[in-house]
Amino acid sequence: MDYFQKLTKQVATFLGITQFVATALAIAGVLIAAYVYSLPLYIVALIGLAISSAVAYLSGRLASTYVTEPVLFLWKAILHVSPSSHGASAPDLDKSRVGKELVTSLALQVYQLASSETPTPQSARHTAAAEHNRTDAIMQNFPLPVFVMDKKQNIVYANTAALHYIDQPKQDVINHNMYSVLDLSFPSDHTFDAWLTDSRDNKATASESWERVRLMLGDQKTKKQFDMAAYYNKDNPENAETIITFFDKTVRYNKDDDAVSFIALAVHELRTPLTVLRGYIEVFEEELEGKLDPELEGFMHKMQSSAQQLTAFVSNILNVARVEENQLFLQLHEENWEKILRSILNDMALRAQVHDKTIEFSIQPDLPTVALDRVSIYEVVGNLIDNAIKYSDKSSQIIVKSYLRDDGMVETTVQDFGIGVPSSIIGNLFEKFYRNHRSRAQVGGTGLGLYLSKAIVNAHGGQIWVQSKEGEGSTFGFTLAPYAQLADELKTTDNKDIRRTAHGWIKNHSFYQR
């Protein structure tokens, strides 16, 4: 304020002086005209008027320049920092004559405001536009695919890398729903959509990443595999609710898949001669039953059971490879467990018999129907009985029981009275390639059976367990959920079957809901 008073005084002094000079000049002119040249009075009046007009004009010009000088300096200062007039030079504040202190102070404040983070509205718009251009340029050249979705999950932005990656023209992507553009599958039920639903309910912002995501391209043949990261922002002003990016791993993950296909092919080559062997042995059995002496008949049964066992083992290999690659895929149907268990035990009886074991079983009547994948459960029971046969040693009895537990689960146990498992290693039994070390010399096997059985039982939503005492035998048990218990899971799908999530590829769900 002091500076302003000083400016007022300066202006007042200047105006006073010019006023005084103008008045003095006019009086002097009139006096000279009247007394020196004795001109008539009206001429004198005219001369006085002319002089005062001229002086008033000059002093007006002078005064206006002088008084408006601070405005000029401030104007220059503002122009200098304004982004809309590039190249305006800064005023030389040292040359300021009027209100120098005030002008200098105000100009510095202008400079400060311009460089601070809150720009004036006009420059704000300009800065935002420049920023947008810059971001767009960066995103377009960004070497990873980037998609941005709005709240309706329509794609509002996709960079060049993204369009290139999914091999789609821009018009087929922008403003299309992401589920119609991106056919994504995830290795577990923690899908992008599940995460997004959760984030919408509970978070303002969130980020997440996934491994081994699959994308099926429009031709339905090309499959891309990648890791994926996503960012969620509830109230993004730019309408960018979610941003996702892919880290391509197609080559690496496909190699893993090829490993499985190689095994699938090898399994095929092993199975074909096995099919033939089992077929012809069956013919022999049918034609020679009762005609052979007991020893030869025993040999035939051993051949038969060995071929059957080898078949089961070959399937084990394939399924272990699938478990490893997260590709074991179960289809759970409603089944009568007693009927299925009886038929499995029936098949296993021959295997037990050729090893001089007998299987006794008791199945509680009226068990509820269970949800299971028939082929996989066959492998579980088969593996447990094969183990019981292997580790029975000299005892011949194997007992299978199935009953309803108090918690509503259907439990099935396989008990032998053989060598048992030392307590030191019992915790490792369900690990891959783990075998009872002491017995390795006497008993064959790969150590895959229990590992696979655990994976299969868990995928069914059940548990597998073991109780054992060295020298007294072991009991292995597993549980299956009643079909009714999974009814809720069924309601969410149109399918009558339940596709198990634990080891399969799960489609991004909304794709089906829309």
């Binding site: 898949d257 199975r271 012809y280 029936n346 021959l350 008791s362």
Partner: protein, 147 residues
């Protein structure tokens, strides 16, 4: 927990009589290029009262299937000159095969990746891994289709 039954290992062979009773689905086409397996299926199915024809390659198998003279088609997925999958699609496409009455059972030893298996399950009436079933068990499976 009730009756503890001693299982009879010979039960397997004796429980289900293979012959006896005329099968309703009588005519069977087997598309299978492995001769030994073809021979075994032919023997077991004929014994059980079926009329069996075996074709060993894709295109002629398709042609034969399209005559619509069969109640059941057993289709291997690995056959010469055409994949079983292609053949299956042609049989399910009303433009190339109108009104096919046959039930199609996939018999294979090659287990597919998930997507392919899904596709098969949608289009076929059954799926059997050949090594897992003996010819007699196959007969029983086909008899179960009549129920």
């Amino acid at each position: 927990m009730q009756d503890t039954t001693q299982s009879d290992p010979n039960q397997q062979a004796s429980t289900t009589p293979i012959t006896g009773g005329e099968p309703r689905y009588k005519n069977i086409l087997v598309i299978e290029d492995e001769h030994f397996i073809g021979e075994l299926y032919m023997r077991a199915l004929t014994k059980a009262g079926y009329n069996v024809k075996i074709i060993i390659d894709g295109p002629s198998g398709l042609k034969e299937a399209q005559t619509n003279a069969y109640d059941i088609i057993l289709l291997d997925l690995m056959i010469p000159n055409m994949t079983g999958m292609e053949l299956l699609k042609k049989l399910r496409d009303p433009n190339s095969t109108p009104n096919l009455k046959s039930k199609i059972i996939i018999t294979t030893n090659l287990e597919q990746a998930d997507e392919a298996k899904d596709e098969i399950e949608k289009q076929a009436d059954g799926y059997i891994v050949k090594a897992e079933v003996t010819p007699k068990q196959l007969v029983r499976f086909l008899q179960s289709l009549e129920r």
